[in-house]
Symmetry: D2
Subunit: 363 residues, 4 copies
C-alpha cells in the first residue's frame, strides 16, 4: 500500500501515520516529495485492511499496490498453461485455437444430435449445451438436468466431440463432473465462491466465464479460488460486460484478452454469442476475437433458432457457423496459429474418463 | 413485443412478418404510421423468444414490452408488503423504518457482544454479521461458520436484537435458516438461481441484495424466483452498483428506491456501507437513503475497525452510529415516518422460532 | 508516480527503471518489499508522461499518485468558497442552501413570467431557463437565443430572482455573461476546454455541470480550467451519470457530494431533474440531495409540462415545487442549515451589473 | 411511441390516455392483450414530448419507438457513403481500408517530419496530429496552434499524406478547414452542438469521434447535426467508451461497427490508441478492428514516446506500426478487402484545395 499525504500535512501527521503503520505490524517508508509526502508500506498486508489510514488527519489517499493473486499469475508460472484432454490430441492454450459450439440449451435428443452432427462436420472440437440453465425468469425453461447430460454424452460418443456444460450449484457440479469433459461456471456464478471451491476439488478442467461487471482482478481472483483448491486447469472466457451501451446485449471487451495474457498463464476463450446477444454480430466479433489473440471461441449454434427454448436471437445457423470456422482459420493463420484438427470419433477414445493424474500443465 | 419496420419496408415484408408472428402462435396487430409500420404482438409470449424476427427483411427493431414479473408486482398486490416478526412488534415495510447494524464478520464472541451491546443501545433492531463471507480472495478470512451463527444467537438472546446473516450456498442456507431471523442473499449471489429457489422454500424472510450490475428488472426477477417457491417475505436492498466512478467503491443508486416502490409492493432497505465503501460517506448516504424513502438501513459498525478482519474501512464507529440513528429519526419525521421502537429483550420473546403460518402479507 | 515491479524482476531491471526515471529528470526511491520492489518517483512530473515505464522489462504496473489539481483543492484553500451576489444577501456555499428553479427552455414571455412568479413565490432564489439549448436532435427546439435572455432579465426585474442560464459556445457566452447572474456550462460541454477557458475570463460565477461520464478528478480539473484563467467563482453541480441502469435517464451519484467536499472548497449543487429524468423521482432525490449535504438544488419546473418544448417528462409542477421547498427546509434543519431567505424585489437591487472587483472568496 | 398500460388498468384509464394522445395532435391505436393493453401512437411526434403520459393513472410505461435520425440512416440512403479526396485515388468507405497515423500532438517541425516520413513509408494515407489539444489539465501542453497546422501542411507536401487534425472550437475550425483534408471532432466535443453545426457548414469531410459515454443513437444524431447543415461527408470513429473496467484507459466497443453498418451508410474507423490507452494493446485491437469490418484505423505513432508531450504511453513505435499495417493487410484480405494503395507524392496533387462541388456521395 501507499499512503499519499495532503500537501499541507504536518510532520507530526506524517509521523502519526508511520507509527500506526508500524503498530499494524508493517513497515513504513516515507518518501518526501516536492509537494507532498508519500509513505510506502511493506510487510505482509494479507490480514490487515489498513483502509482506516484514510481517515487519519493529513491523509489524502491510500492506494493499494500489491496484487492479491498468486497461482494465476505469470509471476509464479511464466509459461502458458496448456490443457490436454487425455486420449485425444486436443489442447487448449497451445499454439492452435479450439472451437466449442452447440445450442444454448439441450432441448431434446433429436435437437442435440442434429446440431452435434452439424458442428462436428464444420470443425468444432467441443459440443456445448446447457442441461442446467440459469434463467432470469423462474417461468422459462430451466434445462433437462441429468437427461440433458446423458444426451450430451451420446453426442460425444457419436460425433467425437468433447463436452462442455454448465454447473449451477454444488449438486449439479457432481453430475457435470461425471458426464462432461469441461465444467463451465457461468458469468452469474463467477463470484459464487462456494461453487468455485467445489469446482477446485473436481478433476476436470473448468471453463470460467467473466462476471457481468467483473474487473480483471476479480476475474483472476475467481480463477485463483479454483486453483487454490488444487485444480490448475482453468480456462478463462470473456463473454461481454454490462455497460450503458444498448446496441448489444453486453459489451464484448476484447481488450481483456491481451490484458489477461500479460498477467496470467491461463488460456482465454471468447463467447461472441452472449457477448453481443445478436446473431448478426456473432461472426464479426468471432473474427475479431481470434484477431486479438484469443485461444478459441465458444459459440451458440441452432438449426431452428425461431423455436429454440432459449437464446434463439443470438444463435447462429449451421451454415453461418461453417463460414465462421473458415474465416477464423484464415485469421489465425495471420497470427501464425492454426485450428486444432477435428477429433476422429473412431481413432480417438473420447471418453469422459476421470484422468488418473493431474495434467502436466499443473505444477 | 413490438416489431418496428424500416421506413422503406415493402407491404410484402410487413405481411411476411405478420405471418411469422401468427406461425409462432401469436397475434399480429399492424399499426401503419406516417413514416413506418409497427406491428404489435399479443398472446402468451412466455415460451417464445421471437428475437429472430429482428433478422427478417424490412425489420428495423424488435422491442420487448411485457414485463416478466408477476408475484413481485403491484399489479398483483397493490398494497405494500409488511413483514412481521412473530413475538415482537417489529415490522419491515410498514410506516416506520428499521435499522440493522453490526460488524461485517463475526470475528469472536467478545467482538460480537461488544458491538451487539453498542448497536442495541443506540437503537438498532437487527444485528447483522457474517458467519459465511464471500471474499474476493481465497486467502482472506472466510468467516467462522456455524460458530459465528451460535454467537449471533447469543447476541439475540442477550440484547434483544433480531439476527440477519448471509447464506452463500445451499448447505449454509439450512444453518442460517435455523439460527437467523432473516436470511441474507448477497449481491454476488443475486442470480445464483439455485440458491434463490432454495431460499424460496425456507420459512424465514429473505433479505435480497441487488447485484453489482443488476437492472431493476433483473433485481425484481430474482425476488420473483424466491416468491415463486412460496416464500413471500422478501426484503429488497440497494447496496451500490458498479460504474466508472472511482471516488467510491460502488455507486449507491438511491433512485432505485422510488423506482422499486412504483413497480413492487416489497419493502426496500439501503446499505450505505457497501454502497460507498468509505467510512466518511456512510452517514451522508444513510441520511439520504431515508430522505429518498427507504424502509430502513443496514449498516456496518465496528468498535475497532483498524483490526477488523474484513471491511474495516467502511465500518463506522459506535458513536457515529448513534449520530446516524439520531439524524435518521429526524429525517424520517419529515416524511411523516418514525423509527420502529427498540426491542425489549425481557418483555419480547425474540426467539428464532419457525413461524407456524405464512405472515398475513402473503396471499 | 509509483512503479511496481514484478515479483521475479531482477536487480538489474530495477536499476534500469531507476536510471530511466533519473534520465527523465526525476528522482527514484526504491522500496524493497517482501515479494516485490516498488519505486517511488518524486520531482515535477507535470511535463513528463512516464507511462512508457510500463513497457520496461520487469515492470508490473505504474500508478499515478499525485493529483493534478491545484486551485480547486482544499490543499490550497482549506475554507469553503462562498460566492456572493453583490447587491443581494444571497450566498452560495455558505451555511444556508439555495434553490434554482424554472423551465428547461424559455419558450415565451408568458411562459417565463408564469413560472417565474410561481417559483419566486415558493421560495426560489434563482430563475433557471435555457435560451441556448443543447439538444440531441437538430430537428428539435433549439432555444430563443438572445430573446430568451431578455425575457429572463425581465423575470429578474419583476420577481427579484437571480438568473442562471447556459452558454453553449464562445459566442453565446458573451451574451449570457451580459444578461445572467450565473453562467451555466452544461454536462455535454464539461470538457469543452475552449469554452471553459473563455468562461474563466468572464466576471460572473460559473455553474459547472458534471459530464455524463466524468470522474471526480476530471470534474475538478474542468473547474481548474476555469479558475486557472482567473475566475474563482465556480459552482459545481452533480446531474447524474451514465450507467447500465435503465430505470432512470441518468444515475444520480449523490456520493459525489461528500467526495467533492473532502477534496475541494468549491460549493456543489444537485440537479435532480436531469439526474433522474422522471418527474416522480425529482422530489425524493431532491430531498436526498439536501440530506447528503449539497449546498442547494437546481430544478426544472413547468406549469404545463405536457406542452413543454423540452424536458416535459422531468419537469415538476409548481405545487410539487412548493412541497419540495418545504421538505428541503426541514431536512436542511436536521443538518443545522437553513434555506437562504427569498430575495425582496423592491429592497434588493438585483441587477446583473458587472462586479467591480473579484469577490472576497477568491484569493 | 407505445404506451403500455398496467394489467389492472380500467377501460376508462385506457380511454383517458387515448384522449390525451389525440389532444396532443396524434393518433392512438389501442392493442388489447391477454394481460394488458398497449396503445400505439402514430403521427408527427417531433415537436411533442409525450413523456407525461407516464404519469397518468393506469400507465405502466411509455416506450419510444421511432428513431430520430434521418440523413444518417440507411432508410434514406441504402448504399454506403464513399468519401473521395479530389486529386487523389483515396476513398474512405469503399472496398479498401485506409490508415491514418501520426503523433498525438505536433511538437516540432523535426518531430513531425520524422514521424511523417516513417508512417508514409509504412503505408499510411493520412497524417494525424494535434495542433489544438483538448487536455484534461490546463497545465499540460495545449498544442502549437496554427504553427502546428502549417507543419502538417508541409508534411503533406513532402510525403504525400493527406492531413487530419482536430478543431476544438469555432475559431480553430476555420483554420483547420483551411489547412487540413479532414476535420476531426474529438470525443469530448461529440455533443458540442455549436461546433457540429459549424462543421456542417464547412466543405471538408469531418471525422467524428464517439463520445465517451455516447449511445449508438446519440452518436448517429451527432453526425445528423453535421449533415443537417449540408456537409454529407462524415466519417464515424469508435475510440473506446467509459466503463468500470480498469485494465484499459477506455473500453473499445468493436460491436459498434456492425451496429453502425446496419443502421447507417456512413463509413466508420477505429482508434485503437485512445481505445486502449496502452501501447501493448494497440496492435491486437487494431487487428480486431479490421476483422470486425471497420473501414480503417487511426493510430498514434511516435518515434520517441518517452519524450512525447502527450499520450506517450499509447503511441506505438514506427516499426510496430509497420507490423500493424502488414497484419491488417492480411486480415483485410480474409474479408475480401484490400488496403488503399499509398499516395504518390509526385504524381498525385495532394493539395488542401477547397473542393469545387459536393462529392458524389451526397445527394
Amino acid at each position: 500500500m501507499l499512503v499519499v499525504m495532503r500537501s499541507q500535512a504536518t510532520e507530526e501527521q506524517v509521523r502519526a501515520v508511520c507509527n500506526k503503520i508500524e503498530a499494524l505490524g508493517l513497515r513504513a517508508h516515507p518518501i518526501p516529495g516536492a509537494q507532498r509526502t508519500a509513505i510506502g508500506i511493506t510487510g505482509n498486508q494479507g490480514t490487515v485492511e489498513a483502509g482506516s489510514l484514510e481517515e487519519m488527519p493529513g491523509v489524502g489517499e491510500v492506494i493499494r499496490v500489491s496484487k492479491p493473486y498468486k497461482l494465476v499469475s505469470r509471476d509464479i508460472k511464466p509459461d502458458n498453461t496448456v490443457i490436454l484432454f487425455p486420449g485425444t490430441h486436443v489442447a487448449i492454450g497451445g499454439k492452435d485455437i479450439v472451437i466449442m459450439a452447440g445450442p444454448c440449451s439441450i432441448e431434446s435428443r433429436e435437437q442435440a444430435m442434429t446440431i452435434g452432427e452439424q458442428v462436428a462436420r464444420a470443425g468444432a472440437h467441443f459440443f456445448r449445451g446447457g442441461a442446467y440453465k440459469p434463467r432470469t425468469s423462474p417461468y422459462t425453461f430451466q434445462g433437462l438436468g441429468e437427461d440433458g447430460l446423458k444426451i450430451m454424452a451420446e453426442v460425444r460418443e457419436r460425433f467425437g466431440l468433447l463436452v462442455v456444460t454448465e454447473a449451477i450449484d454444488n449438486e449439479s457440479l457432481e453430475l457435470v463432473e461425471e458426464y462432461a469433459d469441461v465444467i463451465q461456471i457461468g458469468a452469474r456464478n463467477m463470484q459464487n465462491f462456494s461453487l468455485l471451491k467445489h469446482a477446485g476439488r473436481t478433476r476436470k478442467p473448468v471453463l470460467l466465464k467473466r462476471g457481468m461487471s467483473a474487473t480483471l482482478e476479480e476475474f483472476l481472483m475467481a480463477a485463483e479460488y479454483i486453483m487454490s483448491e488444487g485444480n490448475y486447469n482453468v480456462i478463462l472466457c470473456e463473454r461481454g460486460v454490462r455497460t450503458f451501451a444498448d446496441h448489444t446485449r453486453n459489451t464484448l471487451d476484447l481488450s481483456l484478452i491481451p490484458a489477461v495474457q500479460r498477467l496470467s498463464h491461463l488460456p482465454i476463450l471468447v463467447d461472441p454469442s452472449h457477448g453481443t446477444g445478436k446473431r448478426n454480430k456473432v461472426l464479426p466479433m468471432g473474427r475479431a476475437a481470434i484477431a486479438v489473440g484469443a485461444d478459441g471461441l465458444i459459440v451458440e449454434v441452432h438449426h431452428d433458432p425461431d423455436h429454440a427454448l432459449s437464446d434463439g436471437p443470438q444463435s447462429i445457423l449451421p451454415d453461418q457457423f461453417e463460414e465462421l470456422v473458415s474465416e477464423v482459420k484464415q485469421i489465425a493463420a495471420v497470427l501464425k496459429r492454426g485450428v486444432v484438427a477435428p477429433l476422429d470419433p473412431v481413432a480417438e477414445t473420447v471418453l469422459a474418463v476421470e484422468p488418473t493424474s493431474r495434467p502436466a500443465a499443473a505444477h
